[in-house]
Amino acid sequence: MRVHLHPQRRTVDIEGRRRVGQLLSELGVLPGTAMVIRGDVLLTDAEMVEDAEEIEVRAVISGGSGA
């Protein structure tokens, strides 16, 4: 599968199907700190991502002085 990481603007290819939770763990992303997006739908940790699919992992954490 192809995983686009934002805001890092990095793409990684990973072999084999995975559950979202496992994928995030392998990428070192803590649960609740990123949205996993397939097309225009969000995926929960229990969802399966197939080898041929493309997804986006979009971090939600921002820092600094705040809005």
Binding site: P7, L30, T33, A46, R58, I61, S62, G64, G66, A67
Partner: protein, 318 residues
């Protein structure tokens, strides 16, 4: 995974709430969370004029979206901080959001307010961390725009993660004066101040991002380049690790502080800004407010730098 409300397929799981939601139910859940916070903390009413500080990011735009949906009288305020391409893109996002919905947006470009007012210049000349300089400038312009525009309330998009990280930082250093003022509603301590509120203070960063995504809000995803290494990000990471081990930790940390700890700090620190700044006339505890003090340091150092012989001259070959 099924939606907790309607049993349809869930699109989002919230461990802290022991719930999962499909898209329509999540949007209802999120709006209700914000509505509840506004009502419980008596933040504002529909008769008041609200100034919403927007950065082009997910939190402030999600907040503005919910407020419009709930029928409040809102105006956006965007501050151009002069942080290169990042500021241009964030301005674009805020402006597009407002234009698409026909909402009023006030724009203040710091670089046009005075020479050397962009955040990187101020931080460089004062040797302050960029986030600290940025915060002082934001507070000043939020206050002055709210006052000049006759607004009743100033709203920011600070979320649960922001508040929990700030609380952790304040507790680690026992900053009693900061703890005294850390609450979701700050009543004005001077006639030139307006009420300041944070309606998203119990909504996690993940929840606001999900709301923005589901509503199709086009926000700036990239991080402010100055935030790299900011202590707030370290606190957020620690808190998120705790949250994984024990869901609901951040919520309990902030909510219980506000219920049990904060009132004690507030009693010890009830002071009003009785003076007015000699520079800008805004409320101040000293002769100059924090913003004008910082600006004076900028001008002094810029003048000293201009008067000093340049490195190129002094480095001439022998």
């Amino acid at each position: 995974m099924k939606c907790t409300r309607c049993r349809a397929a869930a699109e989002v799981q919230l461990r802290a709430h022991n719930s999962a939601f499909c898209r329509p139910c999540y949007l209802i859940f999120f709006r209700r969370q914000v509505e509840r916070a506004i009502a419980a903390e008596r933040m504002f009413t529909k008769d008041e004029r609200l100034l919403v500080a927007v950065s082009g990011g997910k939190d402030s735009l999600a907040l503005w979206d919910v407020l419009v949906d709930l029928g409040y009288d809102t105006t956006g305020l965007y501050l151009g901080l002069g942080i290169g391409a990042y500021s241009s893109r964030s301005h674009e996002k805020a402006a597009q959001f407002a234009a698409a919905r026909g909402l009023p947006l006030r724009v203040v470009e710091l670089a046009e307010e005075g020479p050397g007012l962009a955040v990187p210049t101020v931080a460089g000349l004062t040797r302050r961390p960029p986030c600290s300089a940025c915060g002082t400038m934001k507070r000043h312009y939020f206050d002055t725009v709210a006052l000049d525009g006759g607004f009743d309330v100033l709203l920011t998009g600070h979320n649960l993660d922001d508040e929990a990280a700030r609380l952790m930082g304040n507790v680690l250093r026992w900053q009693r004066d900061h703890l005294a003022r850390q609450r979701p509603v700050l009543q004005p301590t001077h006639p030139k101040f307006v009420r300041k509120v944070k309606p998203l203070f119990l909504c996690s960063e993940y929840e606001t991002a999900v709301y923005a995504f589901m509503r199709g809000i086009d926000y700036i995803v990239e991080e402010c380049p100055n935030a790299a290494g900011a202590s707030q990000l370290v606190y957020k990471e620690v808190l998120n690790r705790l949250e994984v081990a024990s869901p609901g930790t951040k919520h309990a940390f902030v909510k219980e502080f506000l219920r049990t700890g904060q009132p004690a700090f507030a009693v010890a620190d009830e002071r009003d800004a009785a003076r007015e700044c000699a520079g800008c006339g805004m409320p101040s505890w000293g002769e100059l407010c924090a913003f004008c003090g910082m600006m004076r340091a900028v001008q002094t150092r810029a003048a000293a730098r201009a008067a000093a012989p340049s490195t190129t001259d002094s480095a001439a070959p022998a």
